[in-house]
Symmetry: C2
Subunit: 161 residues, 2 copies
DNA sequence: GTTCGTGCAAAAACTTTGCATTATC
DNA sequence: GATAATGCAAAGTTTTTGCACGAAC
């Protein structure tokens, strides 16, 4: 089976991601194991924009050879380091990941009723954040902006809190 | 000992907070126990702007009668409900609380080197956030904006990552 | 062959919960 | 006196770790 045949998300290039990952691993004298490869494939296959470690563990539950929970957690960390994944905390108790590599930066709108996540990007806001940071003598490296509320759908259904 | 004599933070009025808390509890048919009162007092006494549940548990370790861990956790939730406290998650694994009642809204700059937290407020940013949300059909209720980077002190010390 | 990664189960860190007892309203 | 809160210890969640074995370089 060719690598490309398992791609569900046409916007994302598994080969490119693998190349980038391999480069990073090599620089760090780390190894590209079959598990690490499978995890990256699975993340693309799932085609969920946001997923948890446990989502991924579930995906491997019926697969053989198994990829263990420990490996999933360890690999997620390894994927965050070179910026292939981004790690978020949306107010739930667990961390949420999303593919970052090849995607433009964005922030999030989170519906407190249905949990849906919308992404947004606003140039003026980005500039303003840097300005605020600098005005406080800060040297900003990154930010996390989350706006909570009700999405159009939930509001339409009459949810009001 | 008069209530006011234990106040360490002159900006915060224990009596007013207790009144507000009592009102809220009454509306909900909840009870103002000595533990709840002590926890509120301790939060003011500590005069840390940001604290965790465990910080508070520590404060009661040598005190008698003890206030148990379970009660601290339960009371923090009760204090968040009416907006007396605000709950944050700054990227660590634990929740961080701060007094909200009587303080203006603000967001946070977090130093990734020393962990210090600076507060900021920017009118234009607040407006922009609402605008962005509305443009996406969202009905915003609140937001959490965190800018990570190096504070002036750490930058001055030569820390660069 | 050396070094790093894996699986497993156990532990860790933080938070929540069940239950009998006690305090508040 | 009815209802809600407390303390304790036990259990829950999510994530991390120690260690013997196996895979990658």
């Amino acid at each position: 089976m060719a690598r490309s045949s398992i791609r569900k998300n046409p916007n994302m290039d598994l080969d490119k991601l693998l190349d980038k990952f391999e480069d990073y691993l090599q620089r760090k004298s780390l190894k590209l194991t079959s598990q690490r490869r499978k995890i990256l494939e699975k993340i693309l296959e799932m085609d969920k924009t946001h997923f948890t470690a446990d989502d991924l563990v579930d995906e491997f539950r019926d697969e053989r050879p198994r990829v263990s929970k420990a490996t999933v957690y360890r690999t997620l960390s390894v994927l965050v380091e070179p910026g292939i994944l981004e790690e978020h905390q949306f107010g739930d108790s667990h961390k949420v990941y999303e593919l970052s590599e090849g995607r433009p930066h964005h922030d999030h709108l989170i519906c407190t009723s249905c949990g849906s996540i919308l992404e947004f990007y606003n140039e003026a806001m980005e500039a303003l954040q840097d300005k605020v940071a600098v005005n406080h003598g800060f040297h900003p490296t990154h930010h996390s902006q989350k706006i909570y509320g009700l999405c159009a759908t939930c509001w339409g259904k009459g949810v009001r809190s």
